[in-house]
């Protein structure tokens, strides 16, 4: 029986060399907030590569057209980054609501993607933002792929998370619904990127989490808002679209009855956050009267 070997490359060159030299199965660990929790047996063999100390894998670059985030960047760093908040506040919001303070300090954006939990809080934002990933194969080749094309079981390492500048929109929001408000796993979460000016929406992209194994882009909801004035009638169509999307995503599931209704409240919260209004604004009350 070969024991599990653990290596901690100091930089990307060492990381590449490590991967190139390993013929057997490789697993990666960064914050360890999913891999190390009790009840999940750690692999007994193969190579475990610790990414936490790889120089150059944790960064947030927001100065260029594309926003680029290192795969080992912690969720806490995302939540606190002013540059990121200026470009895509929804990602900071999602990061700030992810797990607990301790989890956020350890968990990474790459881990949130690779762990592929249906309720992962960063995922709907990344999906709505048209995110691409820079991936590294064991043989040293690097390639880019759309988030929706990424296969967690491929074993390819997420080096960078790229939010293309041309897909970022001026407004964004993230909201979640869990058993409680804080330190809670999402039963449903929504993210939105939008153009919004003079009370009118331009382009809108919405994605939902915890409605399936991967984030669900909600095209009907996009269409219900896109190009429309923010007014009760628009909101009612939007809420109807959300319910339709939920029905289509989880037909017959035990949670369908609840989620198709609760998504209305979450949807209004989403728009309120995106356009800078209080969810208690009269506009939203009128939409559901």
């Amino acid at each position: 029986m070969t024991a599990l070997a653990v290596v901690a490359p100091v930089d990307i060159a060492a990381l590449r060399a490590t991967l190139a030299a390993e013929a057997g199965p490789v697993r990666f660990i960064a914050g360890g907030t999913d891999m190390l929790i009790a009840g999940r047996p750690l692999a007994g063999t193969g190579l475990l590569v610790d990414l936490a100390r790889v120089a150059g894998m944790a960064f947030i670059s927001t100065d260029d057209a594309d926003v680029r985030i290192g795969g080992a960047t912690t969720v806490a760093a995302l939540a606190a980054d002013c540059g990121l908040r200026a470009r895509i506040p929804a990602l900071c919001e999602a990061a700030g609501q992810c797990g607990s303070v301790q989890i956020r300090n350890r968990a990474t954006i790459g881990g949130n993607i690779a762990n592929a939990a249906p309720a992962a809080d960063l995922m709907p934002v990344l999906a709505a933002a048209g995110t691409r990933l820079a991936l590294l194969k064991n043989d040293g080749t690097q390639y880019e792929a759309a988030l929706c094309e990424y296969l967690p079981d491929s074993g390819h390492l997420i080096m960078e998370v790229i939010l293309p500048g041309n897909a970022l929109l001026p407004c964004s929001a993230f909201v979640k619904l869990g058993p409680r408000r804080d330190l809670t796993i999402s039963r449903l979460n929504l993210a939105m990127l939008a153009e919004f000016q003079n009370s009118h929406f331009g382009t809108v992209r919405i994605a939902a989490g915890a409605l399936g194994p991967v984030p669900l882009r909600m095209h009907l909801a996009d269409a219900a808002l896109g190009g429309r004035k923010l007014e009760p009638a628009t909101l009612r169509e939007f809420l109807s679209a959300l319910a339709t999307e939920v029905d289509a995503a989880i037909p017959g599931r035990n949670s369908q009855i609840y989620k198709r209704r609760a998504v209305a409240g979450l949807g209004l919260d989403l728009i309120a956050q995106a356009v800078g209004l209080s969810p208690r604004d009269r506009l939203f009350e009128e939409a559901v009267e």
Binding site: A38, G39, R180, R181, R261, A262, G265
Partner: protein, 748 residues
């Protein structure tokens, strides 16, 4: 007053926050072996065979135990003294497993890691048997619970309690309104920070010493003796510091196993459960299905009440057969009900056993009764506070079931002063609002007992002795569960002796060195143990004064104990340490006093809680936005600790109302809420601002007028919150917890 009504810090607080205090799993015991258990994945099955060969082949494994090589003795883990009659249906390992998580086998090894690895190698073949998860269906599995030969049958109902007073039919006939409700309460878990743990070690004289974070060393001893069939004197139990219990550690679950393994192997053994095991293989609060019928006059006077309760206590009886009568006991001492009919039953199901949990039936029955009362108030259009005031018992009332005097019962003051401080009337005038978010307010009253009187053994013995350094040693089999009982009781002792709480050296509870005590249960620490300690303190003070007569050349009557000294009326005197020195020098034994206090009463503690909630009608989420708890505590020995108890009680109660349920699957019997990621507690951000109003009118039979607060603090909370939600939404929700799905479903 020196120590009473003072916010004295916890006597063990610094040791706890600095990590100096050693909990059981931290103890360094030479030659300690470790244990891991194999648990049943089936809700009901016969263990057809066990093959331990692979596990035994692992290096470092010492033994594998299961039903064929452990005592086949039935016991009841809830007994608290030797010979106590209780339905003995549990075994260390049984050939038939009765719930998912039931014990099947145990591996003892050099390390916990080896034991857990080897436990996975124990091959068990099961033959599935039909399982019952629904308590009403369980009633159909009917028969006597025990055969004549003492063998348990696991037939239902196990317990039956009934009570009739007055003419209920006439009461209902005269009623302006009759309300009928069906209310269910969930299986909730204690969630103590410290998981279950126990160490047993063979002593050179052939005895077994058990180190246990327990609620009664004598209960542990009694259960271990019953399970192992050894003489009582062979088992010594010492209490270790406890990282929370809430009743979860009231029953020795690991101790019989640990003791037997240590005896069989001649080595010290530790068993400690991880969090998952603590959820699935210890105890929960019993769930209750309650049906209540209430007849009221037009002005809100209760004319008649019928109550039916069905308790689901899971796979083993433990103390579950007491619950129907416990609930009755607490139900009838709150309101003056002229015509009452009660029927309570308790049943087995193939689910994790229920056991003691803060309030022991009181949260369940008061939840049933207080939600019903509120529904009645709303239907009658009467202010719920006014309705309660119309029916509450007052000081000196005699409760109708056991005929006990409820003492200086101040439930009315709790309601009146609580409502005033909460600005109840003004908030009621504000209404619920319109639109998505609705605001509601709720109130609930409650009562609870003070000790086990008139039950057996409701007495305790305390010894206080002057130490050479001028402090005093207290021996009283005390079991502080982390709530501050040691501090409170040290304050009582200190008050009588002119010492500070930190000057009282408390000897850990130990079956060898302490006189018998029931332990921490039934809200008896302050009221029962406190009074024994107060009496011992008064007696020791008298003995110290008598001893100082010669040294101070004055009469005892002119001496007082103050600030660690014995003083004459002019203030001159001797430090107690100096007095001790002189007595030792003279060869005189240091003063000591022992007092046994046998309870003569069981007064009620009373409370009224007020909650404000905001409910999101779109998502069904509830937020408790404000909270006030008014408590009749007689006298707060330590107001800070009283408030702490109440704050913690509110946290448990909000969880009970809104979130907490171990969620046993009705098809498979598997517990879904088996970890902190799947079992939702009210965490800090869910907690509302909390205010506490203390009613301190003094209970004549309590030490310095004090009564209990530990359990009652959580009893009215769930009903107050549910009533607030029903107020906000104009609903009649009665099935707890009020998860968002239930709320949206009620809104239609």
């Amino acid at each position: 007053m020196n120590q009473i009504s003072r916010r004295v810090p916890l006597v063990d607080g610094v040791a706890k926050v600095t990590g100096a205090l050693r909990f059981t799993a931290d103890l360094d015991v030479e030659g300690l072996l470790h244990c891991a258990l194999v648990f049943s994945p089936h809700p009901h099955a016969r263990v057809a065979s066990i093959d331990a060969a692979s596990a035994l082949a692992v290096k470092g494994v010492h033994a594998v135990f299961w039903h064929e090589n452990t005592p086949a003795r039935y016991y009841n883990s809830s007994i608290w003294f030797a010979g106590q009659e209780a339905l003995a249906d549990e075994r260390m390992f049984a050939p038939i497993v009765r719930h998912v998580g039931d014990r099947v086998a145990a591996v003892v090894a050099d390390t916990e890691e080896i034991a857990r690895l080897a436990a996975k190698l124990v091959a068990v073949e099961y033959v599935s048997l039909p399982a019952i998860f629904d308590p009403e269906a369980a009633l159909l599995h009917a028969g006597l619970a025990m055969r004549e030969d003492g063998t348990p049958t696991f037939m239902n109902p196990v317990a039956y309690e009934s009570f009739v007073r007055g003419d209920t039919e006439a009461g209902f006939a005269a009623a302006e309104l009759v309300v009928e409700t069906h209310i269910t309460t969930p299986r909730s878990h204690h969630c103590a920070v410290e998981p279950h743990a126990c160490i047993a070690k063979p002593e050179p004289d052939g005895r077994i010493g058990i180190l246990s974070p327990c609620q009664s060393v004598f209960a542990v001893q009694a259960v271990v003796v019953q399970a192992l069939g050894v003489p009582q004197e062979q088992i010594r139990v010492t209490k270790t510091p406890i990282g929370g219990s809430f009743g979860g550690k009231a029953e020795p679950i690991l101790d019989p196993l640990c003791a037997f393994f240590a005896l069989a192997l001649g080595r010290p053994v530790m068993i400690r459960y991880d969090r998952h095991e603590t959820f699935t293989a210890t105890r929960t609060r019993s769930s209750v299905m309650g049906r209540m019928r209430l007849g009221l006059s037009s002005d809100g006077r209760i004319l008649a009440r019928e109550t039916e309760t069905l308790v689901d206590f899971g796979a083993y009886c433990t103390g579950g057969d007491y619950l129907p009568s416990s609930m009755l006991q607490r139900l009838v001492r709150l309101y003056d009900v002229p015509a009452e009919r009660y029927r309570g039953r308790a049943v087995y199901t193939n689910t994790v056993p229920a056991g003691a949990f803060r309030g022991y039936g009181s949260p369940q029955i008061h939840t049933v009764a207080e939600i019903t009362l509120d529904i009645a108030a709303r239907r009658l259009g009467i202010d719920p506070v006014a309705m309660r005031l119309r029916n509450l018992v007052g000081p000196g009332a005699i409760e109708p079931w056991q005929g006990l005097d409820v003492g200086n019962a101040r439930g009315r003051e709790c309601l009146v002063r609580g409502a005033d401080a909460f600005e109840w009337e003004a908030r009621r005038q504000m209404g619920t609002g319109r639109g998505r978010w609705r605001r509601g307010i709720g109130v609930a009253s409650a009562t609870h007992i003070n000790g086990c009187y008139p039950g057996f053994h409701e007495e305790t013995t305390a010894t206080l002795k002057l130490l050479p350094d001028g402090r005093a040693e207290l021996v009283c089999a005390l079991h502080d569960l982390g709530c501050g009982a040691d501090t409170t009781l040290a304050q009582i002792a200190g008050e009588t002796l002119g010492l500070r709480a930190c000057d009282i050296a408390i000897v850990p509870a130990d079956t060898d060195t302490c006189p018998y005590d029931l332990g921490t249960r039934a809200s008896r620490m302050t009221y029962i143990c406190g009074e024994a300690i107060r009496r011992a303190g008064v007696a020791l003070a008298e003995a110290i004064r008598a001893a100082a007569v010669l040294e101070l050349n004055t009469e005892a009557a002119g001496l007082r104990l103050e600030a660690g000294a014995v003083r004459r009326q002019d203030g001159s005197g001797l430090a107690l340490s100096d007095l001790a020195d002189r007595l030792v020098a003279r060869g005189v034994e240091l003063p000591a006093a022992t007092e046994t206090y046998r309870a003569q009463a069981n007064p009620g503690s009373y409370a009224a809680h007020f909650a404000e909630v905001e409910v999101d009608r779109l998502t069904g989420c509830v937020r408790v936005t404000d909270y006030l708890a008014a408590h009749d505590v007689g006298r707060a020995i330590n107001p800070m600790l009283v408030e702490g108890q109440i704050h913690g009680g509110i946290q448990i109660g909000i969880g009970y109302a809104l979130y907490e349920d171990v969620a046993l699957d009705r098809i498979t019997g598997v517990m879904r809420g088996n970890s902190f990621s799947r079992y939702t507690l009210a965490n800090a951000s869910e907690m509302p601002p909390m205010r506490v109003v203390l009613i301190e009118e003094g209970e004549p039979t309590g030490p310095f007028g004090a009564k209990a607060v530990g359990e009652i603090a959580t009893i009215p909370v769930a009903a107050a919150v549910v009533n607030a939600v029903n107020d906000a939404l104009a609903t009649e929700l009665t099935h707890l917890p009020l998860v968002p799905e239930r709320i949206l479903a009620a809104l239609g």
